[in-house]
Symmetry: C2
Subunit: 332 residues, 2 copies
């Protein structure tokens, strides 16, 4: 039985929506543990009490330090203490990052955790990281992100020997900024299945299983992708409903539009992984629906089932040993 | 009469398409000058001879140095020599950047030129810069981009007192990477109409007249925007044509789809400005159609008519004086 701690007080839609999602995700293998205030109606799910709440407006680090009994921090602590195998929160992303760093802590050897987001694409899904855990990154961080993304692609997306690409401004190795030029060299020299740069235009087109970037670029790209999809679908609806002919056509294509929306719906994936921690943490959208929460819990459970944390620790450990071996002169 | 030098050998569609666009753009006020090999059929337009060609695969700086008689370099030189008031090329962007830096040169005080791209948005258009002239930028560069973008918005987009925003990963001042955090401070302290950060999700939604970013992020964002629009429209067509009902609906919404496409069509704007040079240069898409070329020529002519170069030089000059005045101790 996989136990997933769910922060009932995170998210814009209130605890009822979260509890409903948790109930939907309950199965023979998955047991959600609701974290929230005493007296909360959990529909029969186990309750882990936490009186305080981190709000969307709280400053991340302050909130986490000043609210050790908030549902978010208690949910993360449950993972460290073994009361849960994973944690899901739809709360303040920055605070969730701070809470999980404080309570779950980094895997030894991991320099910086990364937010890994699943991107729907033509040929199945790919994973983009870092989507915003750290705004600034060094070239070596990007190499670690690549290893972490490879574990995610293998275990969560079921891809064998995933292909890695570096998000840049041209496919040629010499196109990029200082960060990506250096990262390109390091990635080429690594044992990773590195296929070179990819450009923004190919993000939705597939072509890479893992797309590596710094958290600033990744966050701008992810929000741009979401915003463009929303703006474009809105603009299309506007044009269609502008004429009677269009309205009739709009009725006829409604099922097609629904299929497209579900292909692109972030709720399908439920949330983003925080990779590089000693426990499994999933960050769901603030506006998560019941369906999104249920999928986020399933996503977290899948990560536990596939031992993403253990495999990642193993892989990063090997890489650290390997790179220190190659830089340490061998005694002869 | 505004004379615009047009590189006939740049672009993927060949000189016939370019010449056709130039003929379309010819008017009582605009006189395109075709730059290409002797004997090229210009349909009666003036020909400036240039035997060599910069190809899309050429390395920018090498190509420009080794091909001083290429159509691209000759077209840029025509601006410096006063034979033309502006230049338009749909050729290799990197080479065009190198050629215009070499031949037209930077405005005194401008640290780095920037590529300014018009983005269609809900509330009219906005300008994004730098879209890729330089991969790395310093905070002070972003402030100059803001001034340059303000001139563009005033003169080309007809916006009074344009609002500037900084592309970042959250609206709050403390969200961003090292570059944007420092740029935010400088922008706030400037006399610009700076309205704070904007996120990727708002790029198509309007809200800022000028969006400032470094060339790496700007280029990733621009290509992501283009790719997402294309991928999404393709995916929609795919879903619609999957059923008979959808196909019928598709026929009915065809005019709406066409309106949407033209709202988003990059050909409407024709090209991107290279801002910060002593002459006016417009870079058109490699795949520019006749219509795109004609619009790029009109865009260039509008820039000449509104003296974008002069106003930009004046504004940057004032800013340079002002900032050196504020850092130089006043003798008392």
């Amino acid at each position: 039985m996989i136990r997933v701690a769910v922060d009932a007080m995170g998210g814009d839609r209130g605890p009822e929506e979260i509890v409903a999602g948790a109930l939907d995700a309950r199965s023979d293998d998955v047991s959600p543990v609701v974290v929230g205030p005493r007296g909360l109606d959990t529909g029969g799910l186990e309750l882990l009490e936490a009186e305080d709440v981190v709000s969307m407006d709280d400053k991340p680090t302050d909130a986490v330090r000043s609210k050790p009994n908030s549902s978010m921090v208690v949910a993360c602590r449950a993972v460290r203490e073994g009361k849960a195998d994973a944690v899901v929160s739809a709360g303040n992303t920055g605070a969730m990052l701070a809470a999980s760093l404080l309570e779950i802590r980094r895997v030894s050897g991991v320099r910086r955790p990364a937010i890994a987001v699943t991107i729907p694409s033509k040929n199945g899904a790919s994973v983009l990281l870092d989507a915003g855990a750290n705004a600034d990154a060094r070239p070596e961080d990007l190499v670690q992100f690549a290893h972490m993304g490879a574990v995610f692609a293998e275990e969560i997306l079921d891809v064998r020997d995933p292909q890695i690409r570096l998000l840049s401004i041209g496919e040629e190795a010499e196109k990029g900024n200082q960060l990506t030029l250096e990262a390109h060299e390091l990635l080429s020299a690594s044992e990773l299945n590195f296929a070179g740069n990819t450009e923004g235009r190919d993000l939705l087109g597939g072509g890479a299983d893992v797309v590596v970037t710094d958290g600033f670029t990744g966050n701008v790209a992810l929000k741009l992708l979401e915003g463009t999809i929303r703006n474009l679908l809105d603009a299309f609806r506007e044009e269609i409903t502008a004429t009677a002919r269009g309205k009739l056509g709009g009725l006829l294509i409604r099922p097609a539009a629904r299929r497209l929306r579900s292909r692109l719906d972030p709720d399908t994936y439920g949330g983003a992984y925080l990779l590089g921690l000693r426990g499994l943490a999933v960050i769901a959208h603030g506006n998560s629906s019941r369906r999104a929460i249920a999928n986020a819990i399933r996503l977290a459970a899948r990560g536990v089932d596939h031992d993403v944390v253990g495999r990642l620790a193993q892989r990063v450990g090997d890489t650290v040993l390997e790179s220190s071996a190659s830089t340490t002169p061998t005694p002869t």
